[in-house]
């Protein structure tokens, strides 16, 4: 069968439609993954063979030869679709290359809103794949890939079902239902005619085959019916279970081409042609104050090989810190009670999920719903939850007594500068664990840690500061170029090649924000001026010694490697945090346009990078934690039941349905936008055994944990990130504006606390960014 292996472990082979930029070759072999698919294949082929051998001969003689022919055709159909569903690439997005997100790494918000035909849709940042997930895309933790139009991960075919292979999966279900019915029916016919000599071998075998067929018929038919409903509604399973589906376009299902890597055959030799500059452009350049030139000079020139860099090492995204291990005051709400059994399921099944939580899935699907009114709330809640996880770190203005300790700092620095994300993540987790208790109170009152300027002014300051530097060159008055990175760029010369873009964005931001908090702003801007160049400088000021804190707080790539005071870091450590966060967030603010209400917490955390020597700063944005750490740290999360009772497997439709109803009730009672999250998933799910990544469950769990009685609770689950990644406590999910009390924010999903200073900036192509003021 033509098709590409969905499990291609390396560079996309020729049959892979979308070449993988990176597939971690170190993925551990998990034989347990192959058990369901082997069992399915065994039962299918075995039972049908027995049917053909024992039942069909007599039937063809007695009735007609058309019977085995008919059965044969249907069986062929089943096999063909089964193979295609198993081996066809579902639409995996290749990992984004390093340079694609370099400019955003710490400064971009976790969510980016785009307008699709007038509907605001939020795109979440995927920390593993390092891009903003397109609409309807979701990250599968089992496969560790973002999949386009993600439906679900089917264990029976051991493959994700996505845009490219959904048709095969659907046809497989249909044909399998028909096949089972035919086998059962003809077997029954055989038995009815052999009642007298039922103890013959043929009859016994036929009875056995009938039993198998009858056993599988109910779940398969249920799943088929469910997917018929989904197709009728134009939704994916992911969207259906995580929320009410919302507004989705019915995509044209296109098959992607199997791509071969083609070598570049273009030669590039300087000198290059340049367009003639018009007078206006020259004037603009002069007015530019040399920013463009300066930035270019300062830019880091990274030499890449001509071929698109596809080094797996480079593309490996740092695992997100387990930030949300410790939420402040988690009070299990009533909506958790009924879901314990689902939780138990989840707990018992710890499949070795990779890093990425299915948060993204939730997120993407949640985006769909009405522009994310409810979904955003959820997201936000989650974000807040995540931030609150390590309250101490993020609080820009707060003092972090424990973190100022030089030993801690150095310790953190050394840790950070070490190796892999996983280790860092693990460290974070441990750190977080030990220090969580002390930050509970802080977390409660503070906004998400990644917003250094809880008082909105700081974020504005940073925005303004960055803008000030470039405001001279306001020649470019176009709307914020949402473009280059698709994300706000740091104003500073951090990303070399992004500098021109940055400057224009800066100007934009500056134009947008009229408030002036110059002191902070300047300070920050200067500080940020060399985010990439001077890791050390920032590191000093960044006090957060514990890795999680550090990660969360700083968008800076540098870690507090050396406590030594650095150039631009005269202010106390926490202040430094402010800068980083501000810088991080200010950009967001500037570049965000008001989209849906709840998406007011733009930037998540800027995770300080594991060390200046890394090619790019650690992206703090996502709240996902490395799977490694998560898996090891799973126990901490276990005590909390999954929030919305999203069951890991859909085998028990009734249980899921019940959960769903409970969740709905809980959410309804909470007054939140119960988007029929998790619970909904269970409903209607046949016995297909759709495997919901456990991280989703964890997310829900953690979210519910955090939310407690929060209105988000029902909705937040979906937005929760991976199991290990803590979700922002809802109460700390407030946007970076310190002035805005988080509970107030959360209470009104639809309410946009514009007053508290959420600015929405529309970028090109309908992309909007929310900037908290």
């Amino acid at each position: 069968m033509p098709g590409s292996s969905s499990k291609s472990g390396g560079r996309g082979p020729s049959s892979s439609p979308l070449p993988h930029a990176v597939v971690p070759s170190s993925r551990p072999l998990r034989p347990s993954r192959y058990v369901p698919v082997s069992a399915a294949a065994f039962f299918l082929v075995g039972s049908t063979t027995l049917f053909f051998c024992f039942t069909c001969p007599w039937l063809s003689e007695r009735f007609s030869v058309a019977i085995p022919v008919y059965n044969g055709i249907i069986f062929l159909f089943v096999l063909a679709n089964f193979c295609m569903a198993t081996f066809m690439d579902p639409g995996i997005f290749p990992r984004a290359e390093e340079d694609e997100d370099k400019e955003d790494d710490f400064r971009a918000p976790l969510y980016k809103t785009v307008e699709i035909r007038g509907i605001q849709v939020r795109m979440k940042w995927c920390s593993t794949c390092r891009f903003y997930r397109p609409p309807r895309c979701s990250h599968c933790s089992v496969c560790d890939n973002c999949v386009e139009d993600f439906d679900h991960h089917c264990p029976w075919v051991n493959n994700c079902i996505g845009r490219r292979n959904y048709r095969y999966f659907f046809l497989f279900l249909l044909s399998l239902t028909a096949h089972i019915m035919a086998v059962f029916g003809f077997g029954l016919l055989f038995i009815l005619y052999h009642r007298q000599n039922i103890d013959r071998l043929h009859a016994i075998v036929t009875l056995a085959v009938m039993c198998v067929a009858g056993l599988f018929f109910i779940p398969v038919a249920g799943l088929t019916g469910f997917h018929i409903v989904l197709v009728a509604r134009g939704r994916t399973t992911n969207e259906q279970v995580s929320r009410m589906g919302g507004v989705t376009d019915v995509n044209a299902l296109c098959r992607y081409l199997g791509r071969k890597k083609c070598a570049q055959s273009v030669s590039l030799q300087p000198p290059f042609l340049r367009p003639q500059l018009t007078e206006a452009q020259l004037a603009a350049k002069i007015l530019d104050n040399g920013i463009q030139g300066d930035l270019r000079c300062c830019a880091h020139c990274v030499c890449f090989s001509f071929h698109p860099p596809e080094c797996s090492l480079l593309n490996k995204a740092p695992p997100t810190p387990t930030m949300y291990k410790y939420r402040p005051t988690y009070s299990p709400g009533k909506n958790h009670t009924a879901l314990t059994h689902a939780y138990a399921n989840q707990a018992s099944q710890q499949p070795g999920f990779r890093s990425q939580p299915s948060l993204d899935r939730r997120e993407t699907s949640s985006e769909r719903v009405g522009g994310g009114g409810g979904g955003e709330r959820r997201e936000v809640g989650r974000e807040g939850g995540g931030g609150g996880g390590i309250p101490g770190y993020s609080l820009g203005g707060r003092s972090y007594p424990s973190f100022s300790d030089p030993t801690v700092l150095s310790g953190v620095a050394s840790r950070s500068s070490s190796s892999t994300h996983t280790s860092a993540g693990t460290v974070h987790v441990s750190e977080a664990t030990t220090t969580s208790a002390s930050f509970k109170s802080l977390a409660n009152q503070t906004p998400p840690p990644h917003h250094p300027s809880r008082n909105g002014s700081l974020s504005y300051d940073s925005l303004l500061a960055g803008g000030d530097e470039f405001d001279k060159g306001v020649g470019v008055s176009s709307a914020a170029p949402d473009v280059s990175g698709g994300r706000p760029c740091t104003p500073a010369a951090g990303g070399g090649y992004s500098s021109p873009f940055l400057s224009s964005q800066q100007r934009e931001a500056e134009m947008q924000s009229q408030s002036t908090q110059s002191p902070h702003h300047h300070h920050r801007s200067s500080h940020h001026h060399h985010p990439f160049l001077h890791h050390s400088s920032s590191s000093t000021s960044s006090s957060p010694p514990p890795p999680p804190e550090r990660e969360r707080l700083l968008g800076e790539p540098h870690l507090p490697a050396a406590p030594a005071g650095q150039t631009s870091a005269p202010p106390p450590p926490h202040h430094h945090h402010h800068h980083h966060h501000h810088h991080h967030h200010s950009h967001h603010h500037h570049h965000h346009s008001s989209s849906s209400s709840s998406t007011s917490r733009p930037p998540r955390f800027a995770a300080p990078h594991a060390g200046p020597h890394h090619a790019y700063p650690y992206r703090t944005r996502s709240t996902d934690t490395p799977l490694g750490s998560s898996s090891t740290t799973h126990p901490p999360r276990s005590p909390h039941p999954p929030p919305l009772g999203k069951s890991l497997s859909y085998s028990s439709a009734a249980a899921a349905e019940m959960q769903y109803r409970l969740v709905r009730k809980a959410s309804a009672s909470a007054g939140a936008n119960a988007a029929g999250v998790g619970g909904g998933g269970g409903g209607g799910m046949g016995g297909g055994g759709i495997q919901v990544p456990k991280d989703e469950l964890m997310q829900m769990k953690s979210l519910s944990r955090i939310n407690g009685g929060q209105p988000f609770s029902s909705t937040s689950t979906s937005s929760c990130s991976a199991p290990s990644s803590p979700c922002h406590p809802v109460n700390t999910a407030a946007p970076p504006r310190a002035a805005c009390p988080s509970p107030a924010l959360m209470l009104s999903p639809a309410h946009k606390p514009q007053g508290s200073g959420v600015k929405k900036v529309t970028g090109v192509g309908g992309t909007t960014y929310e900037i908290s003021v």
Partner: protein, 134 residues
Amino acid sequence: MRQQAAITAKVFIQRDYSSGTMCQFQTKFPSELENRIDKQQFEETVRALNNMYAEAEKLGSQSYIEGCLACLTAYTVFLCMETHYEKVLKKIAKYIQEQNDKIYAPRGLLLTDPIERGLRVVEITIFEDRSLTR
């Protein structure tokens, strides 16, 4: 093939979702390219790409027949035949190659086929222009 020039920067043209989830790219001219290439030229390239992707995703009788035929032959027809979408993707690849050769490479730019990035972005690599002193 080793590049002869050093990469200065990369610009990413994001998807344009204003008219739905069809594969369209933003035609806004990025500021990094301001002094490297004409705005008109760039927009023309992106518009041509958009048109081609729209053509690829068009659901017409050909795609319908291809689907039915594939179904009936248990998908073995894919071994022999290329679908309409694949044909257009090949056309796009050729177009990008041609644009690179004629227009972008002389200016120190390089377009990367968006299919390499999962149709998420059009990546334009800006090469260092050593002839200019900055």
